[in-house]
Symmetry: C2
Subunit: 229 residues, 2 copies
Amino acid sequence: MKNEKAVVIFSGGQDSTTCLFWAIEKFGKENVMAVSFSYGQRHFAELEAATNICGKNGIRHLVLPIDIYSQLEAVPFLNEVQCSLLNNDLEIKQEANSDFPNSFVPYRNLLFLINAAIAAKFFGAENIVIGVSQIDYSGYPDCREEFIRETQNLFKTAMGDDENVVIHTPLIHLTKAETWKMASDLDVLDLVYRETVTCYNGIKGEGCGECPACRIRRQGYLSFLESQK
Amino acid sequence: MKNEKAVVIFSGGQDSTTCLFWAIEKFGKENVMAVSFSYGQRHFAELEAATNICGKNGIRHLVLPIDIYSQLEAVPFLNEVQCSLLNNDLEIKQEANSDFPNSFVPYRNLLFLINAAIAAKFFGAENIVIGVSQIDYSGYPDCREEFIRETQNLFKTAMGDDENVVIHTPLIHLTKAETWKMASDLDVLDLVYRETVTCYNGIKGEGCGECPACRIRRQGYLSFLESQK
């Protein structure tokens, strides 16, 4: 029998909220568990939004702490990773100085996926859902389809021949405008617009309007509205 | 220039202790950092042994907590993973009831490797050392060379084209007897014999003598002695 339970990696942002409702439509609300990770992110407002969305909509939800980044930052003899999403003293720059935007957190999506896979084992689920897109992916290598495919294969190698885990990426080929359309089709456009936090400054809904995340989000929303005319 | 810094995944057992001194010989003590993970393991004596070995020998050492397993075990609506290494109420059985011995912790080595990879980023190291062996590997799928190779490839995909991380597995093709020989060649045979904890009941050195880990360890030691005659 096909396994119909799913764990959704859920940050409380536009993309993962859309994925959460995609999973609820696909698997049924009683078969879905949302997991959010507290990993020392700059904007705690995300986790607050995640908790509110699940609470208001009766969705099973865990907030799990991942302490490795903050633990390592606290070790005096280690160099700090210069990452603006973990370090409040750094200004966020979307343009890469070197290879990545400085908002890239090393190994973050892989750490999320493996923790979600462990949670899935406890929940009895074989499906994991993550809202990465390789269209509007900000230059992060761990948002590409190749990365997801290799991760799924590695999970099977790590767990042995009987492992059937599937990583679902409903947004992988979608633009931001198409993600808005998906929210609309799922009848959660208003919820996603008002209740999610995408803004790098942690402001809910329309956000600060100035940071790269807000600009990408608004451009996508305007393109979506345009396509509906 | 070749990167000469290394992070060693270090449990305080025979295998990882031998690997730690292998790494010190290869990279130099000042370039090595040992990391131990506190993940809710049954035998805390391992971590004590790890700390003592590093303290006595002036080796840089971090103990990092990984809380995901205990966090999930504490969630009432989740089923407990039936794992004897995490759950003190279960008896350890080396023979598999189903696919694995019940001492298998899902995704443990992958979780160790990714946390070590993050620690390596902070330490500025491109080398990770782990003491897995696919000879005496107890049926765990995440001790095989294939798993290590796929993990290294995935780390490069996750981090992008410039990533040069190398996962070293000095014991991968060694029997327990050959691992004792390596300790002897590295001039740490006595240290490994007396100071490490391999025993599932957490007893240092010769251990309880009864559990599967003690039996494998002793058989290996006797074979090593035999080969030296």
